[in-house]
């Protein structure tokens, strides 16, 4: 830290002409904080070499020393108000850095460990009769696709029609209560949605029932509010002039909605639905208690247990069997595929909203 004060005095052409607005203190040159952090890094390096080398400790020391150094230096040269401002800037930037640590490490870890079994067999074979190496998640992948498709088929019509009701028809108390309860529904824990589906189907089929369709019902409880929320926002953006123009031409209201309002908003609706699918495709807990797991192929959601990718990953990790490493590798690859599905859906949603931007706005 003492080195950097020397450096700042060694550069009079930057610090001299700027008269500080705060109590006549000098204004710091823009490179001074960087120099302070550089000095802190050198100190931390020395510290680390003296004790034991650790990259995490090195980064922590650098940030802490750099922040303290910047604060003290600024307090001496610029006064307390500026010093606090610089301190907060350092803290806010470090907070963002801290938030990036889990994201980067998680993606790196999943890719590194998942790459081992990211091969053709993983996508073409099921686990039937597999002990030890080999085997795949074809059955789980198909199960996830079937159940997600069913969920979408249930949720999108209900969600879309509800959004249309809220925007185009809804009035008074019913509209208010639907809006409120959709907010409530957004907060339902996913495991409770699973319990609901289980309780519902137990009344019909008796205890211990496991069906693919139960999973779809449970996921629908989670997906419907997301669809309604996004569709409502998008439908509200459709300009009223379009509706009024259609009415003026004598078009009935329902045809106005179908032929004018929805086509105008279709990009936003598609984005919302895609994001809603991304939200439910990685859900594990409701499927764990409604659909169960199986090692065989089952394409019929109305008959018995199905495998799904998240539940598959969970069981491969927690009940790996005798040589555990093979199953754990499969679990990581399943996690990798899951992340790729979710991120891919997010990217698709972004693309839809960018490529098919509303035709009328602006």
């Amino acid at each position: 830290m003492s080195t950097s004060t020397q450096q700042s005095s060694a550069a009079p052409e930057t610090s001299a002409p700027s008269q500080g607005a705060l109590g006549g203190h000098e204004k710091q040159a823009p490179w001074v904080p960087w120099a302070v952090f550089g000095a802190a890094a050198v100190l931390a390096l020395g510290f680390g070499l003296l004790t034991s080398w650790n990259i995490v400790l090195f980064v922590i020391y650098t940030v802490v020393l750099g922040t303290l150094g910047t604060y003290v230096l600024s307090r001496v040269t610029e006064g307390p108000r500026k010093a606090v401002d610089r301190l907060v800037t350092c803290l806010v930037i470090s907070a963002f850095g801290i938030a990036m640590v889990p994201l980067v490490s998680l993606v790196y870890e999943v890719v590194r460990r998942g790459a081992a079994r990211f091969d053709a067999e993983f996508f073409t074979a099921s686990l039937q009769g597999i002990i030890g190496p080999g085997g795949g998640a074809y059955h789980a992948l198909m199960g996830t696709l079937i159940i997600t498709l069913l969920t979408t088929l249930i949720s999108v019509p209900i969600g879309l029609m509800t959004a249309i009701y809220l925007v185009e028809y809804g009035t008074g108390r019913l509209k208010k209560s639907i809006t409120f309860f959709i907010d409530v529904m957004t907060g339902i824990p996913s495991i409770v949605a699973g319990l609901f589906a289980y309780a519902l189907f137990v009344l019909i089929f008796g205890p211990g029932v496991r069906l693919g369709i139960m999973g779809a019902v449970a996921l629908s409880v989670l997906m419907i509010p997301v669809v309604v929320r996004s569709a409502e926002e998008v439908l509200k953006l459709v300009p009223n002039e379009l509706r009024e123009a259609a009415y003026a031409l004598g078009v009935p209201k329902w045809r106005t909605i179908l032929k004018v309002v929805i086509p105008t908003a279709i990009a936003g609706l598609a984005t919302g639905v895609t994001l809603a699918i991304a939200r439910v495709i990685g859900e594990t807990a409701p499927l764990l208690i409604t659909v169960g797991i199986t090692n065989a192929l089952n394409f019929n959601p109305f008959d018995g247990r199905m495998a799904t990718l998240p539940v598959y990953a969970y069981y491969q990790l927690t009940q790996p069997g005798v040589p555990p490493q093979d199953a754990i590798d499969r679990a990581w690859t399943a996690a990798l595929v899951l992340i790729m599905l979710v991120m891919g859906l997010n990217v698709v949603a972004r693309l839809i909203s960018r490529l098919f931007a509303p035709k009328t706005s602006r």
Partner: protein
């Protein structure tokens, strides 16, 4: 939200069957949502009645329903509280960074990167927590025990695997970070430019501007957002189930030992697949308790957020 219905038509329009069918379907979909939500409550209650009425010694654990559920509620609240305490300051700082500190061109992209954290499935957080985070936290826990062991939270012995309550709290904090920071960001970006510019024009530094103009305006939004995050942390299942499997220790304040209280959601996920009979009803009863707790937290959060819209103090 539209005013299509408010404009009086020149003449009474004739009632078309298409209109009536379409309007009826839309209304029906809305009502169906209310029915589904009522169904969630009704079915959960009806399936938990056998557990509520059963004699105490038939409930798993032999102590009756209350002594079965209470440690789970404790674990749920404890883990969610840790998550909230860690996530809220971080999320507010991130929101401030993206709204006021980051270069304009980068801001949207950075916001998207933070939102990506929300897209990652919770089971993957469990994988990450148990394989990456937990082992790396063990030295830190050792340090906590050595230096802060006199605080009841940090008494030893330290878990050698790192699968502890504090790890869960940190993983949950990462999981709720996106929602809290997204809502804070939204509120901060609504702060009237006049307020911020007025503060800057009076000679305030950037932090003073935030302290004087942004925080008072956004306070209730941040509180509401963090309560929504709390609601999410309460219901998180898979990450907790993976990291805390096999350690149900009842009520304890020790955060870094290998004996930890289980949470409601994780307990259901762990026990449900192997349960039959009354055990299932007991689990559903605990799910009902979770449902009620999250319902309460979420309704409170929505109320706080919507109250801000009425009097934001800025008008």
């Amino acid at each position: 939200m539209t005013s299509t219905t408010s404009a009086p038509p020149a003449q009474q329009p004739k009632s078309r069957p298409g209109d009536r069918i379409f309007a009826g379907t839309a209304k029906g979909a809305g009502i169906l949502i209310l029915i589904i939500l009522a169904g969630v409550a009704v079915f959960l209650i009806s399936e938990s009645v056998p557990a509520l009425t059963a004699p105490a010694d038939e409930i798993p654990g032999d102590g009756g329903l209350a002594s079965y559920i209470w440690p789970l509620i404790f674990g749920t609240l404890l883990s969610a509280t840790i998550a909230l305490l860690v996530a809220t300051p971080l999320a507010v700082a991130i929101a401030l960074f993206i709204t006021f500190y980051a270069p304009r061109k980068l801001a949207a992209g950075l916001g998207y990167v933070v939102d990506l954290l929300a897209a990652i499935p919770s089971i993957v957080y469990g994988f990450w927590g148990i394989f990456w985070l937990a082992p790396r936290l063990v030295p830190f826990y050792r340090w906590l025990e050595e230096n802060l062991g006199f605080i009841p939270f940090f008494v030893g012995p330290v878990s050698s695997s790192g699968r502890t309550m504090l790890t869960i709290g940190l993983v949950l904090a990462v999981m709720i970070l996106p929602i809290v920071s997204a809502i804070s960001r939204e509120v901060f970006s609504q702060v009237p430019t006049l307020h911020t510019e007025a503060a800057l024009a009076l000679g305030a530094t950037r932090w003073e501007m935030i302290k004087m103009a942004v925080i008072p305006y956004g306070k209730s939004g941040v509180i509401g957002g963090s309560m929504l995050g709390l609601g999410r942390a309460l219901g998180e299942t898979m990450a907790v189930a993976i990291i805390l499997s096999g350690s149900a220790a009842g009520i304890t304040w020790a955060l870094i030992t290998s004996a930890n209280p289980q949470t409601i959601a994780a307990n259901i996920a762990l026990e449900f697949p192997e349960s039959t009979g009354l055990a299932v009803n007991t689990l559903i009863a605990s799910g009902l308790a979770l449902f009620l707790i999250t319902l309460l937290v979420n309704m409170l959060a929505r109320w706080v957020v919507s109250r801000r819209a009425d009097f934001s103090g800025a008008n």
